[in-house]
């Protein structure tokens, strides 16, 4: 969509502000991946806007040498919608967390997805409240001990992806916070996607929830525990690339290539662009392996495109060009 392009390196996107995240936090990796993706997208940086809510992740805009706004808790999608509608030429990014977008900002989260405004939303999901020092979040698991659940959390969690699909998300990706190359690739794809793209980053909080995704993201296990899907490719994973997914009735099942006569042709091929989200939903729910990558990327009309078409139509059918045309139209009368 953008016609202007410019060559950058990731360094061009770093602001002069000292970064205040805890050492070892995945947020650093995400920041670098975003900067890398923006360099790849070649969008002039004056046309890039980052909007955030409140939480550890929401400090993000301060560290980007672009336009940015650190908003209020949960409202970033609404603020960003206003930015994009005011100036559709901007590349608008929302930075949010699990508390910010799934608890206090839940309403904006679902409605922005439903409208499909061309925004890119990165959800830092660390399954904990970091900035307020360690309470459970809407993605914390039942039994999780936190400052506000010393005997174990009693509230079952959301799957961000399931919620997003329920809200008509057209683009949903999931990626581990310790995989910078994959993150950059996904962010780039999200930046190119027209419509709201949601990327859930499984982000480790070293202070309050260290290791919360280790069973999937640790380098020693991730090849076997994560299935990184790519559009058009068979869903094969494993250290030896010998495992794959097949559809059996209404369930996804892991099969081993070569066992029981299973050949690569039997493995499901990922179709991210399919309009029907049923399979995407199943992939999102799968726990072993955990599916990462771009799970859904269904191109659809955006809100701005609909509004723009309507505006053109109304304009072409109307004689009103200036307010005077309206004010002096219809039932007016003269007083002498």
């Amino acid at each position: 969509m953008e016609t202007k392009t410019k060559k950058y390196t990731y360094k061009d996107f770093a602001s002069d502000q000292e970064i205040r995240w805890c050492p070892g936090c995945d947020d650093y990796v995400i920041l670098r991946s975003v900067q890398k993706a923006l360099a790849d997208l070649e969008i002039p940086k004056e046309d890039v806007v980052f909007i955030s809510g409140i939480g550890c992740s929401s400090r993000f805009p301060y560290y980007m040498d672009t336009y940015g706004m650190h908003g209020i808790h949960g409202r970033a999608p609404a603020i960003a919608s206003g930015v994009k509608l005011a100036n559709p030429d901007l590349s608008v990014w929302v930075i949010t967390g699990d508390g910010d977008s799934l608890a206090i900002g839940g309403n904006h989260f679902i409605h922005v997805l439903r409208r499909n405004i061309d925004l890119n939303m990165i959800l830092f999901n660390n399954r904990i409240y970091g900035l307020t020092k360690g309470q459970f979040s809407p993605t914390s698991f039942v039994g999780q001990k936190t400052k506000s659940s010393p005997y174990g959390n009693t509230q079952p969690p959301f799957h961000a992806g399931e919620l997003a699909i329920g809200a008509q998300a057209r683009f949903f990706a999931r990626v581990a916070g310790n995989m910078p190359a994959e993150m950059a690739e996904i962010f780039t794809a999200a930046g190119r996607f027209e419509g709201t793209s949601l990327i859930e980053v499984l982000q480790n909080c070293v202070i309050f929830n260290d290791g919360c995704y280790a069973e999937y993201t640790d380098k020693s296990v991730r090849a076997d525990k994560q299935l990184y899907v790519e559009h058009g490719k068979p869903m094969i994973f494993g250290k030896d690339r010998d495992k794959g997914l097949v559809l059996e009735g209404l369930r996804l099942r892991v099969v081993k290539l070569g066992e029981n006569g299973v050949t690569p042709e039997d493995i499901l091929v990922h179709d991210a662009c399919e309009q029907d989200p049923t399979l995407h939903q199943m992939l999102i729910r799968l726990e072993d392996p955990l599916v990462t990558g771009i799970i859904r990327s269904y191109g659809d009309v955006t809100f701005e495109q609909r509004e723009d078409a309507l505006t053109r139509q109304v304009k072409s059918n109307s004689d009103f060009r200036k307010t005077d045309d309206l004010f002096f139209s219809g039932e007016t009368y003269e007083v002498h």
Partner: protein
């Protein structure tokens, strides 16, 4: 009965006894389905075009589809027309047109003794009387003997008039009886039905049989009055003296919306409205959404917070951003308003006040959000508060709110209320050329030494740098800002300094707003003080006091609340007594006490969801003057 021939209408029948009046108040009441709003609007427009001053107030039931004939399903429309200046829809009515018993029952209190009631006798059936909780028929039991009652079998006469018109079902026949009533009222007040017939021609362009039917019924009512000996005379109300120009009758909420359209055109910014529906503010959204031809962008958001948040985003990106609401919504917008104030972005928030607290009285008027507008946010968070005072000047103050927001880089709260928002009055149309210019603080070129919170030395407004401007990339946020870099700062002294700057910035707006001009007297024994939507009532009452010989009473009405006009203290102190009249328990009086030490204003407060009545005001004034 005349044939359906428009030319047969004689607008000045000779054989009639015409009595001339200065002003008259007419109220049309009936079932929600009886078309009372349309009838009232037609009478208003016809009178305005004739040259009368007009003021109207609709009264809808709060239920969307109340049971037919029920007391709470009554819909009303009151219009005050005059050959003199008319500033309120009037307290008591000279003519009540009651289409059913429930309408009569709920509105009889307002009819001046000795004055006229026109009733559709066909609708006074046993069933309808029961629904209206009448034990006996008031048209028969003598309970209306203090009034001049004109019983008309409107339903049958309407059916009669429509005999032979093709393509009408029973329902549409009975539903057009409101036009019979309107025809009668036109005759009584010496008004030509032509405007309304024109209206039918436009409205039913594609259904010619409806043009014919409505015109027939209207004419039938008109001629029925003429030939009816029950109406002994008719009245004329000469045109009012108003400044010359082109006028139209406008509703307050429409005027507000149009003020924004004009401000957008004048400032060269695109208009963005982020809004969530709420009574009685929704009509501003309904109006603005129509105007896509001017490039107006509207977002009906998922909630009040998203309404203002999207507007903040739009303001950041360079639009003239508006959000509209009423009291409960303003409460929800509080946190985001604080953000806008911290970001120092231009934003206009309209609060069309209604009865509170909580859900309160959604369809009734009140002025009880004033302190919420002033202080309803965390932290020291001053912003501009202004208030419109008539349906027509909603246009001016909506425009003014935009001007102040854009020139001073701050959120502005514009207060109106259900009474002026739904009321209508003549508006002398303001063409774009006659409106003042609106400046802005946009900076388009990168400058070496630029800082986000650098300020104009005079107004203290920072510059507005829109995303898309190369070389000026910057970050804003709700955390305290370092002066002037805008970086996050926790330095104690900086916070105090920024707090003082934000407050001084609003204080300095006083240099850019007009003085308050007292009316009727600039010194004397009693100064009546009001703000916002009570202007019509206060003005009328003080004027009448003057006419009765009380020369020592003045009126100071405020549109600028924060900051107050520079001469406020001086104006107030020129009178021995001050009486602050408000539709709340004394919120503006509190503000005056805070701002002017030693000032001990008296208060006159009403919190019934109703506007001030003339008599109660004058009684209070007289009491204080005795």
């Amino acid at each position: 009965m005349p044939k359906s021939n428009y030319a047969m209408i004689k607008t000045s029948p000779e054989a009639r006894d015409i009595q001339s009046l200065e002003a008259v108040v007419v109220r049309f009441v009936g079932d929600s389905g009886d078309g009372m709003q349309l009838t009232g609007t037609q009478f208003t427009d016809t009178s305005a075009m004739f040259g009368n001053d007009v003021a109207t107030f609709p009264n809808y039931p709060s239920e969307i589809r109340a049971p037919q004939g029920s007391l709470y399903g009554v819909s009303g429309y009151q219009v005050h027309i005059g050959s003199i200046e008319v500033s309120t829809p009037g307290d008591n009515v000279d003519l009540l047109v009651a289409m059913n018993p429930a309408g009569l029952k709920t509105n009889l209190y307002a009819v001046k003794p000795g004055h006229t009631i026109i009733a559709d006798s066909d609708s006074f059936t046993k069933k309808n009387l029961e629904k209206a909780q009448y034990e006996t028929n008031p048209l028969r039991d003598g309970s209306l003997e203090n009034y001049r009652v004109i019983e008309v079998a409107m339903t049958s006469l309407t059916k009669e008039a429509l005999k032979g018109v093709e393509g009408l079902d029973n329902k549409s026949i009975t539903r057009s009886k409101n036009m019979f009533a309107l025809g009668m009222v036109y005759w009584m007040y010496h008004r030509s039905p032509e405007h309304t017939i024109d209206f039918f021609r436009k409205k039913f362009r594609k259904q010619p049989h409806l043009i014919e039917a409505n015109t027939k019924v209207l004419n039938a009512g008109y001629y029925y009055s003429e030939t009816l000996e029950l109406i002994p005379n008719s009245y004329s109300i000469a045109p009012a003296k108003m400044p010359s120009g082109t006028y139209r009758v406008i509703m307050g909420n429409t005027a507000t919306a149009w003020g924004f359209l004009a401000a957008a055109e004048k400032s060269g910014r695109e208009l963005f409205l982020g809004s969530y529906p709420i009574t009685p503010a929704s009509e501003i959204l309904h109006e603005l959404v129509k105007h896509k031809h001017f490039g107006v962008k509207t977002l009906q958001a998922e909630d009040e917070i998203a309404g203002i948040s999207s507007a903040i985003g739009a303001a950041f990106a360079g639009d003239l951003a508006i959000t509209t609401t009423s009291g409960p919504g303003l409460a929800l917008k509080g946190e985001a308003l604080g953000l806008a104030l911290m970001l120092e972005l231009p934003l206009v928030v309209v609060d069309v006040q209604r009865g509170g607290p909580s859900t309160g009285l959604p369809t009734k008027t009140e002025q009880s959000d004033l302190l919420q507008a002033m202080y309803g946010r965390n932290g020291d968070s001053p912003l501009i508060v202004i208030a419109a005072s008539t349906p027509a000047n909603c246009f001016h103050f909506a425009f003014e709110a935009c001007r102040l927001a854009l020139e001073h880089m701050t959120p502005v709260i514009l207060m109106t209320d259900g009474y002026i928002a739904n009321g209508s009055a003549p508006w002398k149309i303001e063409s774009a050329a006659s409106l003042p210019e609106i400046g802005n603080r946009i900076l388009r070129e990168a400058r070496e030494d630029w800082q986000p919170y650098q300020r104009d030395p005079e107004t203290l407004a920072r510059s507005w740098v829109l995303p898309g401007t190369p070389g000026l990339e910057h970050r804003l946020g709700g955390l305290e800002k370092d002066n002037p870099t805008g970086n996050v700062s926790y330095v104690p002294g900086n916070h105090e300094e920024m707090t003082r700057i934000r407050s001084e910035k609003i204080r300095r707006v006083q240099h850019r707003i007009p003085d308050v001009v007292p009316e009727f007297a600039s010194e004397g024994d009693l100064l009546v003080v009001g703000w916002g939507g009570t202007y019509g009532a206060l003005h009328t009452a003080v004027k009448q006091m003057q006419q009765e010989g009380y020369g020592n009473i003045g009126l100071a009405h405020f549109n600028y609340i924060n900051p107050l006009p520079g001469n406020t203290g001086e104006v107030l102190r020129a009178f021995k007594k001050i009486l602050v009249c408000e539709l709340n328990t004394g919120q503006f009086a509190k503000l005056l006490r805070i701002n002017f030490s030693g000032l001990e204003p008296e208060q006159f407060n009403k919190v019934q969801g109703l506007p001030f009545g003339n008599d109660e005001l004058m009684d209070k004034f007289k009491q204080l003057l005795s």
